[in-house]
């Protein structure tokens, strides 16, 4: 299963090489299978792909709690909620103290679906970081 997923991610990467930069896919060590996708030119916003029960999750970490200007925290959260539904294919989320943007796919999703999601996610991540910069330190 893991090898199949990695293969699909690589295929998606090849499809996106023209639009985004080159893709570097690697499995990160740990008990849960997580693949790290690094896109040339956007190394600061790597995408992590993991299979969680019945879905594939593509996660891009944006900022942490400590990045947020305390006086603007509520405004930031509201802005994220307001924006959430308008963002194509991705949604905001939070794991622990890390804020993120992610896309969820069915386990059977093919390389094309994955490519579409990853392209949207990477673009959304850059846009989100830029739009939310005013709420951050």
């Amino acid at each position: 299963m893991d090898a199949v997923l990695q293969q699909r991610i690589s295929e998606a990467g090849q499809r996106l090489a023209g639009q985004l930069g080159a893709f570097d896919v690697a499995r990160i060590p740990g008990e849960v299978v997580v693949f790290k996708v690094e896109i040339t030119g956007r190394e600061e916003l790597p995408i992590f792909i993991t299979q969680a029960d019945s879905q594939i999750l593509c996660i891009c970490y944006l900022w942490t709690e400590s990045d947020i200007a305390p006086s603007r925290r509520t405004a930031l959260l509201e802005a994220m909620l307001d924006l959430n539904i308008a963002i194509p294919l991705s949604s905001f989320g939070r794991i622990g103290d890390k804020y993120l943007i992610y896309g969820a796919l069915a386990c059977e999703a093919g390389a094309d679906d994955l490519a579409q999601d990853l392209l949207a996610l990477s673009d959304n991540a850059v846009d989100a970081l830029e739009a939310m910069a005013e709420y951050l330190h």
Binding site: K36, E43, E44, Q55, I59, W63, D67, L129
Partner: protein
């Protein structure tokens, strides 16, 4: 308590605890066991249902058969009465009474079967809803746990490597800088391209004999010839 409420209260714990387990392993096992048992019960109920439905149909067929029999004996009874065979008519009436009793019993059985079918269908619907609910809760719990564990692994791999997550601002600045650089490069490439494009056009024009460059060769030749002619003329004169 809905599964979402359970997850939210579990998330109030520390990230480490969540990474270890949102719903403790024991609870997960119990859930999985419950799902397993519900599914087995469901399979049994479905099997029972087909059996009872078959029985209900058989009762229906039996009732139809008895109806016809009763009708047939009634005709015989009328015939016996017409021939003033009282005794025979009495025997036939006894037979009809037996058949009617049998039919009543079958009708009662059919009603029972129908009720059984309705309650089994109810049971199946409930069991299916329970399985779906359990499976959904388990999926939510497992996903949360899996995501927290993945984040734990990601944090560790980032913390140890050179690719440690910088501040969000810095990330943005670097991406923007690179973006600007890329945009500049693209602009330069475009300019270069346009320049080459112009040259190519001029060359094409020249090849077609249009423009200042077109007749340069001829012009030079003509100039040289004229000069030679002029030299010769002056030479003769000398």
């Amino acid at each position: 308590m809905s599964i979402f409420s359970k997850i939210l209260s579990a998330l109030k714990g520390s990230a480490r605890e969540i990474g270890e387990s949102v719903v403790d392993a024991n609870a997960t096992r119990i859930y999985e066991q419950e799902i397993h048992e519900s599914k087995a019960a469901l399979a049994r109920a479905k099997q029972d249902l087909t059996l009872v439905m078959a029985q209900e149909k058989a009762a229906q067929r039996e009732i139809e058969r008895l109806d016809k029999e009763i009708l047939r004996f009634e005709e015989h009874a009328f015939a016996a009465l017409d021939k003033a065979e009282e005794n025979l008519a009495g025997d036939v009436a006894t037979r009809i009474a037996e058949l009617e009793a049998e039919r009543d019993a079958q009708q009662r059985a059919q009603v029972d079967f129908a009720q059984h079918i309705a309650s089994l269908k109810d049971l199946i619907r409930q069991a299916e809803a329970r399985v779906r609910e359990h499976e959904r809760e388990l999926a939510v719990a497992k996903t949360t746990e899996s995501v927290y564990r993945a984040t734990e692994s990601i944090s560790q791999s980032m913390g140890s490597g050179a690719s440690k997550l910088g501040s969000a601002r810095e990330s943005l600045e670097r991406i923007k800088e690179r973006h600007t650089l890329m945009a500049d490069r693209m602009k330069a490439a475009e300019e270069l391209d346009a320049e080459f494009g112009n040259k190519a056009l001029e060359q094409k024009l020249a090849a077609a004999g249009i423009g200042a460059e077109a007749n340069r060769k001829e012009a030079v030749l003509a100039r040289l010839k004229a000069q030679r002619e002029a030299d010769r003329t002056t030479g003769h004169e000398q």
